[in-house]
């Protein structure tokens, strides 16, 4: 029997462990939260290092969609009001990739909750905001990688930005803002859901949001009430703003939402994040309390 080895060794510890007292005051609390956020982000980065195949597979899907859209449909379709469908649909693809990110966030958060990792975090003196904030940083890094690879493929199939690098970067910034909002929504849903198997429900919700938007279709071709829904869809705001900034065709419908796409592309993500980040953190703190 090897049981004695365990008892011979110091399980408690030989040296006293300096237990840091919880932070007092807002500045200390902020430093504490920043450190925890970075630790949680580091955990996600370590996951990627362990599973490089998953990261590649995650990037492959949007790439395939971009190439398919570019080669299969690109040559055949014209946008009403003029313009190449390939150029029209490319910003839609970018934005849809950001929207679909909600599934990754949801799955990661719901899995941690199911496995009891979330409870372990909650019983520790770490900052309650760090779980969501760390997830946000990691997911934005992943989204940024997708926003490098997808446009490169876009260039390959003939898509271009026409109005300079500055405006193109602004468009990518808006896309990341949408992804950030999706982190907040995904984290909240992941904490509310009974488990990772509810991912199906999120997937079912994500599809109508993508199709009832200007990402793939031209809202002007839809019946009036559907067109209104499509134009006020947060996804459409980002897509239309992206088209304006990249210099891609924007078939104007004259509606307020379409005319103020840039404003809405900032306002929607800010609003969603402002609502769902606090909700997610509150839910995390009070998980079945």
């Amino acid at each position: 029997m090897t049981t004695t080895t365990l008892e011979d060794r110091p399980v408690t510890t030989t040296t006293a462990i300096p237990v840091p007292p919880p932070p007092a005051g807002p500045a200390a609390r902020l430093r504490w939260a920043a450190a925890d956020t970075w630790t949680i982000t580091g955990r996600a980065l370590a996951h990627w290092a362990r599973q490089p195949g998953q990261v590649v597979a995650g990037l492959l899907f949007p790439v395939l969609v971009v190439l398919m859209m570019g080669y299969l449909f690109g040559g055949q379709t014209e946008v009403p009001g003029g313009g190449d469908y390939r150029a029209y649909v490319m910003p839609g693809m970018f934005a849809m990739a950001m929207l679909f990110g909600v599934e990754n966030t949801f799955a990661a958060v719901a899995t941690d909750k199911r496995r009891g990792v979330t409870d372990r975090f909650r019983a520790m003196p770490m900052a309650p905001s760090a779980m969501v904030a760390g997830r946000a940083v990691a997911d934005l890094l992943q989204a940024a990688a997708a926003l490098v690879v997808m446009p490169l493929c876009g260039l390959l199939v003939g898509w271009r930005w026409h109005d300079g690098v500055g405006r193109a970067l602004a468009a990518f910034g808006l896309l990341l803002a949408l992804r950030l909002a999706m982190v907040a929504v995904g984290a909240y849903l992941g904490l509310v859901a009974s488990g990772p198997e509810s991912l199906m429900v999120v997937q079912i919700l994500v599809w109508p949001v993508s199709f009832l938007s200007s990402a793939l279709v031209v809202p002007a071709t839809l019946p009036g009430w559907l067109a209104a829904i499509a134009e006020w869809n947060p996804l459409s705001a980002t897509v239309t703003a992206g088209r304006e900034l990249f210099g891609d065709p924007v078939p104007g419908s004259g509606s307020w939402a379409a005319e103020h796409a840039l404003t809405l592309a900032v306002a929607w993500p800010v609003l969603l994040a402002a609502v769902f980040f606090p909700l997610a953190v509150r839910r995390y703190r009070n998980l079945d309390r």
Partner: protein, 331 residues
């Protein structure tokens, strides 16, 4: 802080219409392994989750290591370790990465977190597997890593919620050894379990919980003696002799003997061990009962449990757990 590391008074908690805790009291002195024993849904896990600051009680108060778990939760969290029902470790990371991650979240410096991880990996005999992903660990190794993660700050109080549920006997022994070692090091351990054997082997003291309150308290031995001390079991060679044997036992014990006709066995609680045994052998012989087996034994905690909670056994074995004629025929 007082002499109690864990102290709860009148804890109440409802989930919707279900009452999980109904005025639960608990006091655990420092350095003790205390067992919470009870059937499924009795309130064991809820108790641990309240004490580990995960659930807010609706009523009552609780202090852990001198810190109120509601008003001073942040401070309480630096004094506790929690090992929940799942092995709450990151499957993709290595054992070492897990411990460093948790150490960093306790705000140890990277250096201290690394040193502490190495120390714990050695203490829990995980050195060889330290740099492999947890996904490939056995159940026992996962649990030991889980325990190690709960011990990062060497907290004075450790909560273990059913630490061996779902483990094979070998892994269970590994975890028991680890818990004993922690207790020897001075850690106060609160342990919930459905396994009476586990409570019997590990706990210095027990609280038996049912319907959200403590229905009995004391050392395992004390609880056993409360149900009538020792028992005398007699197995007869001829089942026809059962009534005669029961009559003999009734006379000796002064209580009502329990007859198990299927096993041709009759048993009763007895007060004076050796005298009762001698007396029984003599009386059974005189009555012409042929004895197949006779034994004195302490009651099992199962019997204690049944006596305290009525008909509900904590393990609630399914009826087909017992080998019946049908299952034997199937073999």
């Amino acid at each position: 802080m007082g002499e109690h590391m864990i102290r709860a008074t009148g804890l109440r908690r409802r989930f919707g219409r279900a009452t999980a805790l109904d005025g639960l009291d608990l006091a655990v002195p420092a350095g003790v392994v205390h067992g919470l024993l009870g059937p499924n849904g009795a309130g064991k896990s809820t108790t641990v989750r309240v004490l580990a600051t995960l659930i807010r009680p609706d009523g009552g108060r609780a202090e852990v290591a001198g810190h109120d778990v509601v008003r001073d939760a942040a401070r309480a969290r630096t004094r506790i370790g929690l090992v929940g029902q799942h092995a709450a470790v990151d499957e993709l990371l290595t054992g070492r990465q897990n411990l460093v991650l948790f150490g960093r979240l306790f705000h140890l410096t990277t250096r201290t977190a690394r040193a502490r991880a190495a120390e714990l990996l050695a203490a829990f005999r995980l050195e060889e597997a330290a740099d492999r992903p947890v996904r490939g660990y056995s159940g026992g190794m996962r649990r030991r890593l889980d325990l190690a993660a709960g011990m990062i700050l060497a907290p004075p109080v450790l909560f273990l919620d059913e630490p061996t549920t779902g483990l094979d006997p070998r892994a269970r022994t590994e975890v028991w050894d680890a818990v004993r070692a922690l207790a020897e090091g001075g850690t106060t351990v609160l342990l919930t379990t459905q396994y009476l054997e586990e409570a019997d082997r590990l706990a210095h003291s027990l609280s038996v919980i049912d319907h959200g309150r403590v229905i009995a308290e004391g050392s395992p031995d004390l609880l056993k003696s409360r149900v009538g001390g020792d028992r005398l079991d007699v197995a007869v060679a001829d089942p026809a002799d059962l009534p005669a044997a029961a009559a003999v036992l009734a006379r000796i014990s002064g209580g009502e003997p329990e007859t198990d006709a299927a096993a041709a066995r009759v048993g009763a609680p007895v007060a004076d061990r050796a005298a009762a045994l001698t007396e029984a052998v003599r009386a059974l012989d005189a009555a012409g009962v042929e004895v197949a087996d006779i034994a004195l034994r302490r009651p099992t905690l199962d019997e204690v449990f049944l006596a305290l909670t009525g008909d509900r056994s904590p393990q609630e074995p399914a009826p087909d757990d017992r080998p019946t004629a049908r299952t034997e025929a199937a073999v």
